[in-house]
Symmetry: C2
Amino acid sequence: MLTSRDVEAILIQHGYRLTRPRAAVVDAVLKYTHPFTAEQLVADVGTGKGGSIGRATIYRTLEILASLDVLTRLIQPDGHPAYICDSLGHRHHIVCSGCGTAVAFTFCPVQELVPALARDTAFEIHDHLLEVFGVCPSCQVSATSAGGPRA
Amino acid sequence: MLTSRDVEAILIQHGYRLTRPRAAVVDAVLKYTHPFTAEQLVADVGTGKGGSIGRATIYRTLEILASLDVLTRLIQPDGHPAYICDSLGHRHHIVCSGCGTAVAFTFCPVQELVPALARDTAFEIHDHLLEVFGVCPSCQVSATSAGGPRA
DNA sequence: TCATCAACTGATACCAGGTGTCAACTGGTG
DNA sequence: CACCAGTTGACACCTGGTATCAGTTGATGA
Ligand SMILES: [Mn+2]
Ligand SMILES: [Mn+2]
Ligand SMILES: [Zn+2]
Ligand SMILES: [Zn+2]
């Protein structure tokens, strides 16, 4: 589990200034257990709302944190991006279409496919995107009774 | 290779009416060789532009065609969706970050992963999303000289 | 401790892509 | 050819995201 201190160290280590807004975003980000969207964060710490951080700063900071691998950007079933902070390193997620809960997995089936793809297509492969969608256990139960939760 | 007639038959087969706008969208769609966005199609056959079809109709028709597996919806390197019509069936694409060109591949490395994921996470798995990003051969060359093409 | 200044911020305005509405229209059927 | 559910498209609207830029501030070193 990453702490605010850890993340702050990482920021400094990469030449970023440790600013008040940045620290606040980091703190907020680490509190989420589920994937969250940029707009959710805007609602939580954005100007006028809970905090006083500009929309642009929030978007910028998320980008930085993702580039430093502190956050993983994933794609929700609705196609919109979200962020999650589980831990460092390459991973993918299985995301619940009902409640948004994500579970990470570290085995990447694409990696072993890359050489063959590169050879067959002559593409220079740089990146990939993999999301698995489904319904989590608790949403499976609520599907039989009411509509699933959303938090 | 799918023809307009084929697609029209598929539409009717699924209880959709064969309307003038729908046919025009189908025709336009089949002419693309590269992935295209909804807005691109709006520019091509949208009201006032080349044609006279409303934005809403275009978006609706694309959704229908994707649901019928006539089109595959893929995600571009910039994160925005695009459509491509190669042929029917489950496939994924490797997309060029330079020019948007996509090459399909039919081998899906996720399929064999699903049982283990379902067992480990207790999720009910419904779908997945896989895109591979890179640079196509022709954009690799132009990278050394000018900026890559865009068509 | 303080002066300096590049990095950073956030208000504002803007934009693209996409959706909801609803009166008018039309393909297909009998 | 009358009928009407399915469909259309103009329009208003919304969300998520970006560009700009004058003002602010964290880090550095004197
Ligand atoms: Mn991977
Ligand atoms: Mn697949
Ligand atoms: Zn769930
Ligand atoms: Zn290319």
